[in-house]
Symmetry: C2
Subunit: 356 residues, 2 copies
């Protein structure tokens, strides 16, 4: 079926050792022999099996990738960056997704470990409390976290707390006082926690009262009545929503529209992630941007440094690598005049200026 080095040797009339050398150290074999061997290789369409090599203890050049889902483009964007570098450097990627499920996380790690991946790039729900990561440490399997916000483990991410702080400060600077944070049903993630911390800090610093994050069902067609009530109730109606990620922001925007609220006149929206897609929305989504692709690249570089042992430089570096975030203005944030801080959507709309 699939030709082996043996077949090539027989075909060329040499020993397998010579064929091996012809492949791995061409200069050590007689040019004429080399030519014959190469002809046989072509004739049989032979490709050396990495299994044989790997078995000999060579490097597998295999890196494992564990992501929660690809339904959220955040991870697809990271993956693009990783894939770019990996294939350029001759590594292969083995991908598994977990759908945020702990069992699948465990299964993924076991599977990849069995495959003898040289390292792992992953995003988990909560990096600080994750027992599997301790196991990885114990097993000596190298890994780098992406997006997870922890100082205890090797990770690449933005400063989620600070980024959220900056974003919410910007909302406040636009005159918003009643700002609510919305989170997906997976509010338990380390980044969601950090983002809420940043939100709370910005609020308090402005003398405002932070509220707990409001959980929103990602998959529902409409916003739940209970949620909608929070967003529209007369007196304390929020004027701005800080969504813990862009996908959530998009779902919320749709929900608000269906409830006949205008964006940003009736409600300002700020997302988090900086999805490329967000710019295509109408109005373009304001978002706290993480350099997702760059996060993927950086994670790759860190992992590879560890894998190849070029880690001397980064040994002095702290575990957590923090990449700069940025604010994308978009057009989903309206400025609010604080004097006429009316609670009626209609009334307030008149005093608001959509932001270019």
């Amino acid at each position: 079926m699939i030709p082996t080095i043996k077949d090539v040797a027989a075909h060329a009339g040499f020993s397998i050792a010579t064929v091996s050398r012809a492949i791995n150290a061409p200069h050590t074999v007689n040019p004429i022999t080399l030519d014959k061997v190469r002809q046989s290789i072509d004739a049989l369409n032979f490709r050396p099996s990495p299994l044989g090599r790997q078995l000999r203890g060579e490097r597998t050049r295999l890196i494992g990738l564990i992501l929660p889902t690809l339904a959220n483009p955040v991870f697809a964007e990271c993956l693009q960056g990783i894939d770019e570098l990996a294939s350029a450097q001759g590594y292969r990627l083995m991908l598994m997704t977990t759908q945020y499920d702990a069992h699948r996380e465990r299964h993924a790690i076991e599977t990849l470990r069995e495959q003898r991946v040289e390292g792992l790039i992953l995003t988990v729900t909560d990096a600080d409390t994750h027992p599997l990561l301790d196991e990885l440490d114990r097993a000596g399997l190298l890994y780098v976290l992406m997006h997870n916000d922890t100082v205890r483990r090797p990770s690449v991410s933005v400063d989620n707390r600070l980024a959220a702080y900056d974003g919410v400060r910007s909302l406040i600077a636009h005159g918003h006082r009643r700002i609510l944070m919305l989170a997906g049903t997976l509010a338990a993630s380390d980044r969601a926690r950090q983002r809420h911390l940043g939100y709370a800090q910005a609020m308090q610093q402005a003398g405002l009262t932070p509220a707990p994050a409001l959980e929103v069902d990602f998959n529902a067609e409409e916003l739940a009545p209970s949620v909608l009530a929070h967003l529209t109730s007369g007196q304390s109606r929020p004027t701005a929503l800080f969504c813990s990620n862009d996908l959530l922001a998009m779902v919320v925007m749709r929900g608000l529209r269906r409830a006949r609220l205008r964006i940003p006149q009736d409600m300002s929206i700020l997302g988090f992630d900086g999805l490329a897609m967000g710019e295509l929305l109408s109005p373009p989504l304001a978002s706290i941007c993480a350099p997702n692709r760059e996060i993927g690249c950086a994670a790759w570089r860190r992992l590879l440094a560890r894998v190849t042992g070029d880690d001397d430089a980064s040994a002095s570096t702290s575990l957590a690598l923090t990449l700069p975030h940025s604010l994308r203005e978009g057009a989903t944030i309206a400025a609010i005049s604080n004097r006429t801080d009316s609670t009626s959507p209609r009334a307030s709309a008149a005093t608001e200026q959509p932001l270019a």
Copy 2:
């Protein structure tokens, strides 16, 4: 470093054969022995290396995946479906992206072949003229195409021609006469060709004149002036655009907005792909929907049937598996009154009714 079966055997005080049996056929070994072996396995945190197994000619349970890009969620959606089934059935996925580059396609195939994948799921630019696929056939490497529209090779896709035909017919039914098709810079793909065929057919059947597809640069911030000229020139201004995919439709929508055209009052838009994201737009994007996730699943099932040899049933089946498409109405298509088929955006807007 990584413990081998030998280490376990030594630790447990048995032969490697017994350890192997303890792992692969526990019932054939003495319970007491089994217990000891298992303790050693746990103690050493041993995982059998698939390399050894695979080398013995066992199945690798490895499937290769070659996608153009993950920047287009179409592929991410397929991948979700594939990944779901693959991990449920104990297969591993090796992913490579090509960015529509022929060299990378070749490289991906070679790499995966070397890895001894049992089969390949891929999307190529043009399946009919692709020399690499002939090579796969010759090499006997099993594969299934996704999205590629060809009857010559095993593939899973929608009927792109018919789907486009249906979509354009719907535009015509809404009163549109001047309908233009836009395509990405990769207009050479088999599916783009089929879609244009469907477009042309629907136009001709309605007594209208189809135009060649207009190429649009995907990555530009604004629509190119030449393109914009096509879309706004007075007399022959199109009233509807059929975009060869949803991502393109989104880019075009943004471009139109920047050019101060309203959607759908000034211009109707129909996309192709049925991206989940499209429903979150405002207005929700009308699209010809392919069941992307289902396409991934179906491709997986077909490939696995071939890989495992359960192909008897599908031997009678034709090579190309066509899944049903559907039309998502969205709200980017306006009805046009044909009597007052005015060419001025402003004037025509008055006679148009946005479609719920």
